[in-house]
């Protein structure tokens, strides 16, 4: 399973953090520090895999954001690259040409999309269309409720 998924900028600011295992605040902060240090120190044109403690770290840079995840021994690193790529595609489809600012200002949507794609550190749905439809439907539900709530009583 994936233990965590982090998105951070070139300056090491964290934009999204998903933890699939219960960890204390201090531990989480340490992992974030270690990941950002290690990944940002990597030169270009090096491979996307690292070793950290007993985990395999897979990272990929998309524009100004680094997508970084921690895997267990049995997990397939090449597939993890595909998982990261699929998430980027989903964000791109949703926001239309996604950029870091989209994720900053709409972070909760980024989480909602992630929660339709991964669960418990595993892939939940392998069809892009299916995920996109679910998000659309959820957003509709939210809107309808908000519309309903802002209507005057009579």
């Amino acid at each position: 399973m994936m233990r965590f998924l982090l998105l951070f900028s070139r300056q090491g600011k964290i934009r999204l953090q998903k933890w699939f295992l219960p960890l204390g605040e201090r531990e989480k902060k340490k992992i974030i520090r270690d990941m950002t240090t290690m990944v940002l120190a990597r030169k270009p044109r090096t491979c996307n895999f690292l070793h950290w403690k007993d985990l395999k770290i897979v990272y990929k840079r998309y524009a100004s954001l680094y997508f970084c995840c921690g895997l267990e021994e049995e997990d397939n690193e090449l597939l993890a690259l595909e998982v990261l790529h699929r998430y980027v595609e989903l964000l791109d489809k949703y926001f239309g040409n996604v950029c870091e600012l989209d994720i900053i200002f709409n972070f909760e949507k980024a989480y909602f999309i992630l929660d339709e794609f991964l669960m418990g550190g595993e892939v939940q749905e392998t069809s892009k269309q299916s995920i996109a439809k679910s998000i659309e439907a959820s957003d509709m539900l939210q809107e309808t409720m908000e519309e309903y709530m802002s209507k005057p009583a009579f």
């Binding site: 909760e108 669960m119 939210q142």
Partner: protein, 716 residues
């Protein structure tokens, strides 16, 4: 979709703060406002408030006061509030917080909600942060959802079940029956969830393996369907149909086929098909091939299939994509012991990867190369490894040097080659050689006696150009101390002659003693070497004496102690100095060739150049022993000026009687005897160092013998 304006406004304000202090101020104000609004239970903006708090939390600020708000929001009937409430729960609550238990009831209710999107929120949250208690409580609900309901919920319930099994493995039996039946679903999400669930059940409880091995034909069918199906837009990634599902199925097949002939047979053809037909030009295909190779190597596959798998890894080594090269090497590392011959075929490519730009790839290549060294390829492999060492990244150097030394020691084709390799490593990377290897290297050098002259010359030359590499310094100092006479003689067959004076040598050793780059150990070596040279040189004894006395007041305690002892050797025990400082001396870290004397009463302890020395022991009392040495000569001419000197441990007293003479007649026509009386009041373990000195055919000869045990029951 309406953007949450208040949230975005706050984000904008925070981002425009110019300093950390300013940001903290803004955050404090906002948090105060959020807190106030939480207390108000205002209906309109509740979700925005919580969202703001979550943003603040992500920046690293404390947000625990929002925990109860999450609980309240989750219980709200409004979807927008539930949505953000559950997100908050996943971010702020974990199983360690007490508040997490409070949401169990809400989750239970939402699991049976009429809206699948609300069910989904509950499932997702449970799978993310459900504690063991919550899992136990809600497991029956999840099991129900696995069977009834639509694909959207089934796939989520399956992964929720995975989480429950991880938390409480015994609950696995609750899900086992449903898990198998999920495999007949057509929906890829459900199939994927089912495969993950079955994998987890098998890993947690090997008892399940037999049950799920029955599913192998079904799994094989699923794979066949994916591999041979035409283009499916919904699941296609770079020409591969649903690589995510394929990889998980292959992984499950691996677990089921391991150690089981029947299951392995059933999947053999499929694995061959996937291995042959999968296009690996993009990552998706390579991911599937990689998983296939892992499965083939782990189950009981035919040898032909195994060869196919290793060849795929070999092909991966030549791939342009660095990731694929890296993956290939990690896989080859796993099988290098079991499939050594197959991996050897790709040795050339692996060695080439030592030159890769990427440090991770280099590391893997180094590991593999060291594993592939054998007696047959040692010469060519060592060339490559030494070449690698000169451009090796710093973090790999000490591992590389250790690996090279091990390989050299195991497979050295000749002593000269071995010494050359050691010298090369010390000179190229002496700073990265681990300290523990120094005594071993010294041992190897001392054993190669014909190469002493060569070794000391090469080390001396390396030393005069660079004294910063500690291992090199230590080994070189030891050699100079030990073989200084060979160095000063100036000539050596194998290398260009170089005139080395006593002053030159002492200069270098003193420089090391004084240099701030030298470690305490190195300085110890240097001081000892200087001291040893006092017995091998003739003109500079005073210089040595003064160096040693200076260091008698050195700040470094160890060095001081050593210097004081050496000083004493000069002053009180000058007659012993030769003995102790001669060849094969132990001074705490050298090795020595010793002779152990066993039960025979009169035994030969030394035999060289026609001179034979025998030892006989007699005990007078328990603590007094008489040792008699008898020397004979089998050469053609008489031996003259024959003297023996002896040294024993401190607690033992020694009295040398007058020798019978100092001429040993030739051809065994006579002997010289020397008696030594020993008093050993503490009954210490008795050892003796004997130094012989004599003239044979006009040449002065000196040698030394160490006797470690004496044939006396009183001392055993």
């Amino acid at each position: 979709m309406a953007p949450s304006v208040c949230l975005q406004e706050m984000i904008r304000v925070i981002r425009s703060a110019r300093t950390q202090g300013e940001e903290r101020g803004v955050i404090q104000r906002e948090c105060a406002a959020i807190r106030a609004q939480f207390r108000q239970a205002d209906s309109g903006g509740r979700s925005h408030n919580l969202a703001k708090l979550l943003y603040v939390h992500m920046l690293g600020y404390p947000a625990h006061f929002g925990q109860m708000e999450c609980v309240r929001m989750i219980a709200s009937p409004r979807y927008s509030e539930k949505r953000i409430g559950y997100l908050g729960a996943m971010m702020l609550l974990d199983e360690k917080q007490d508040a997490s238990l409070l949401i169990t009831n809400s989750i239970k209710n939402d699991l049976s909600h009429s809206s699948q999107y609300i069910q989904s929120l509950a499932l997702c949250t449970l799978a993310c942060m459900g504690s063991a208690e919550m899992c136990r409580d809600l497991a029956p609900e999840i099991e129900r959802l696995l069977k009834a309901s639509n694909s959207y919920i089934k796939k989520k319930a399956a992964l929720c079940a995975v989480h429950i099994v991880r938390k409480i493995p015994e609950l696995g039996e609750l899900f086992t029956p449903s898990a198998h039946s999920l495999l007949s679903d057509k929906n890829h999400g459900v199939l994927h969830g089912a495969v993950v669930l079955i994998t987890e059940l098998c890993e947690r409880n090997p008892g399940n393996l037999d049950e799920f091995r029955k599913a192998v034909p079904e799994l094989v069918q699923i794979m066949k369907g994916l591999v041979t199906s035409g283009y499916s837009p919904e699941h296609n990634v770079a020409g591969i149909s649903d690589p995510f599902l394929q990889v998980r199925v292959l992984r499950l097949l691996r677990i089921l086929g391991r150690n089981n002939d029947e299951a392995s047979d059933a999947m053999n053809d499929l694995l061959a098909q996937v291995a042959t037909n999968t296009d690996s030009s993009k990552t998706a295909g390579s991911a599937v091939l990689y998983e296939t190779v892992l499965t083939i190597m782990d189950i009981k596959s035919e040898s032909g299939l195994r060869v196919l798998a290793v060849n795929i890894l070999g092909r991966f080594l030549l791939n342009n994509d660095r990731n694929i090269r890296y993956i290939s090497m990690t896989s080859l590392q796993k099988i290098v012991q079991t499939d050594h011959t197959a991996v050897q075929r790709h040795r050339g490519t692996i060695v080439d990867c030592l030159k890769d730009q990427d440090a991770s790839v280099k590391r893997r290549a180094l590991e593999l190369s060291l594993a592939l060294v054998s007696a047959a390829n040692i010469r060519s492999m060592m060339k490559e490894l030494l070449r690698f060492l000169s451009t090796c990244p710093p973090e790999l150097r000490s591992h590389a040097t250790s690996g090279i030394f091990n390989a050299a020691e195991r497979y050295a084709p000749s002593q000269r080659w071995h010494i050359d390799t050691i010298l090369h490593v010390l000179i190229t990377a002496g700073g990265d050689v681990r300290d523990e290897t120094v005594p071993n290297l010294i041992q190897l050098i001392s054993v190669a006696s014909e190469l002493h002259c060569y070794t000391v010359h090469k080390l001396y030359r390396a030393l005069i150009s660079d004294i910063s590499q500690q291992s090199l310094v230590q080994v070189a100092c030891w050699c100079i101390g030990e073989y200084g006479d060979l160095l000063l003689k100036g000539d050596c067959d194998e290398i260009e002659p170089m005139q080395v004076t006593e002053d030159d040598v002492l200069d270098v050793l003193e420089t090391i003693l004084q240099s701030h780059m030298s470690s305490p150990t190195s300085r110890g070596f240097a001081l000892t070497a200087i001291m040893k040279l006092s017995t091998r040189i003739t003109n500079n004894i005073d210089r040595i004496r003064s160096v040693v006395s200076i260091y008698g007041s050195c700040i470094d305690v160890e060095l001081q102690q050593r210097a004081v002892e050496y000083n004493a050797l000069f002053k009180k025990y000058d007659h012993m100095r030769y003995l102790i400082m001669s060849s094969h001396t132990i001074m705490g870290f050298n090795s020595v060739t010793c002779l152990c004397v066993f039960s025979a009463p009169n035994v030969t302890v030394y035999e060289k150049g026609g001179v034979n020395l025998k030892l006989q022991c007699d005990n007078q009392t328990e603590t007094a022993i008489t040792v008699t040495f008898t020397a004979s000569n089998s050469t053609q001419s008489d031996i003259t000026s024959f003297t023996l000197q002896a040294a024993v441990p401190k607690s033992v007293q020694l009295q040398m009687k007058a020798p019978s003479g100092d001429v040993i007649p030739a051809q065994g026509r006579g002997t010289v005897t020397q008696t030594i009386l020993l008093n050993n009041p503490n009954k210490a373990s008795l050892k003796m160092r004997v130094r012989l000195s004599y003239t044979s055919q006009g040449t002065l000869c000196q040698d030394m013998v160490q006797i470690d045990s004496f044939p006396s029951p009183a001392w055993n």
